[in-house]
């Protein structure tokens, strides 16, 4: 509201324009240390989580389509709007006899959103039996707002007949 000289400021106006607006601010909505705030639309904000998970175990697959390893994940579940920043990291090794066959790590989304792992957001290693550790970051858009689980998935390139190795696997999701 815009105040006018000599107008009575009513309790109802205080409740609408002061109390209720203050209840839409960050300190009113802040609950947990380590979280941050994002805009969710016009005049609306939400507290969001940044979550990370790691699986250090060295495991293998020879699957040429995205799959879980013996230890599924890592995975995180966060409440998001329609976007999230996702960083995946893995140390990956191909096979000495398959020097030109790639090794891939990506992620899928489940829960409110259903989105399969794709090469478009994958880490790719193409150095035979040598192992590199790097990350890939994505601004994931088109999510369905709500509780979403982000899970790393793994595969080998076309022609793989031997197991490729994955370890020190980490996913970090910054919910937006």
């Amino acid at each position: 509201m815009t105040a006018v000289a000599n107008a009575v400021f009513t309790a109802a106006e205080y409740n609408s324009y002061v109390r209720d607006n203050l209840l839409e601010t960050m300190p009113a909505k802040a609950t947990t240390a380590g979280r941050w705030f994002v805009a969710t639309g016009l005049n609306s904000i939400a507290e969001r989580q940044i979550a990370t998970n790691t699986v250090d175990t060295s495991e293998t697959t020879s699957s040429t389509s995205y799959t879980n390893l013996t230890t599924t994940g890592p995975a995180v579940t966060v409440t998001t709007g329609t976007k999230a920043m996702v960083f995946i990291t893995a140390q990956m090794t191909g096979h000495a006899s398959e020097a030109t066959v790639e090794t891939y790590a990506s992620y899928e989304v489940s829960g409110a959103t259903s989105s399969s792992a794709t090469d478009a957001r994958a880490i790719v290693n193409d150095v035979g039996a040598n192992d590199n550790r790097i990350s890939v970051g994505s601004l994931h858009t088109g999510l369905t707002a709500g509780s979403n689980t982000f899970t790393m998935k793994y595969k080998c390139g076309t022609g793989a007949a031997n197991p490729h190795t994955f370890l020190r696997r980490t996913i970090t999701v910054m919910a937006l």
Binding site: N15, V18, M26, P27, R133, I134, S135, G137
Partner: protein, 183 residues
């Protein structure tokens, strides 16, 4: 002053200066515009009903330098490093262009956490959160990045600094960067 749940006004109730100061002035002083200090900062939660302005900072070192150290160590030009205030966690994004003079031999970059005043190591760099290139052939160059979130921190100011090592041979590192999201 801390946040106070805004009072609910009642018709004909006297609206006192004290009530204004507690429920309007002090609460407005806890909101983002009151806390904002630095362009490009984000707002993070420090506790229930409490936020702060948290700058994101980056450091870079372009110079190509080498090491033969098999344990994490500084290069001739130390860093990059960033000193930043965090709450309970920090997301660090770092990377460089790296190679190794020997075939099938690793070059690694990682990040440690150091005391701002004494420089003492609080969290050592680790292979667990490193960028690694396992060169094949020798001197093959790769440029990449790693994202790592440090959790369980005690609220305060820390220096995040990159360090380097090799499995063997001579590692070369250039275009080194590190930035910290204090959340």
């Amino acid at each position: 002053m801390a946040w106070t749940a805004p009072m609910t006004a009642v018709a004909t109730q006297v609206w006192t200066a004290s009530a204004f100061n507690t429920h309007v002035r002090d609460n407005l002083n806890e909101t983002a515009p009151a806390k904002a200090t630095t362009d490009g900062s984000i707002f993070t939660v420090t506790a229930a009903n409490s936020i702060n302005d948290a700058p994101m900072l980056q450091s870079t070192v372009a110079a190509s330098e080498t090491t033969t150290s098999t344990t994490f160590a500084n290069l001739t030009t130390v860093g990059p490093s960033v000193t930043v205030s965090v709450n309970t966690a920090a997301t660090v994004i770092f990377g460089c262009q790296m190679s190794n003079s020997s075939v099938d031999t690793t070059a690694l970059m990682s990040v440690g956490i150091y005391d701002v005043d004494t420089g003492s190591e609080l969290t050592a760099p680790s292979d667990t959160w490193c960028q690694q290139n396992d060169g094949s052939p020798a001197n093959s160059v790769e440029r990449g990045m790693v994202a790592h979130r440090f959790t369980g921190l005690t609220s305060g100011s820390y220096t995040f600094q990159a360090k380097y090592r090799v499995g063997a041979g001579t590692g070369a590192f250039s275009e080194r960067y590190l930035f910290v999201i204090p959340a």
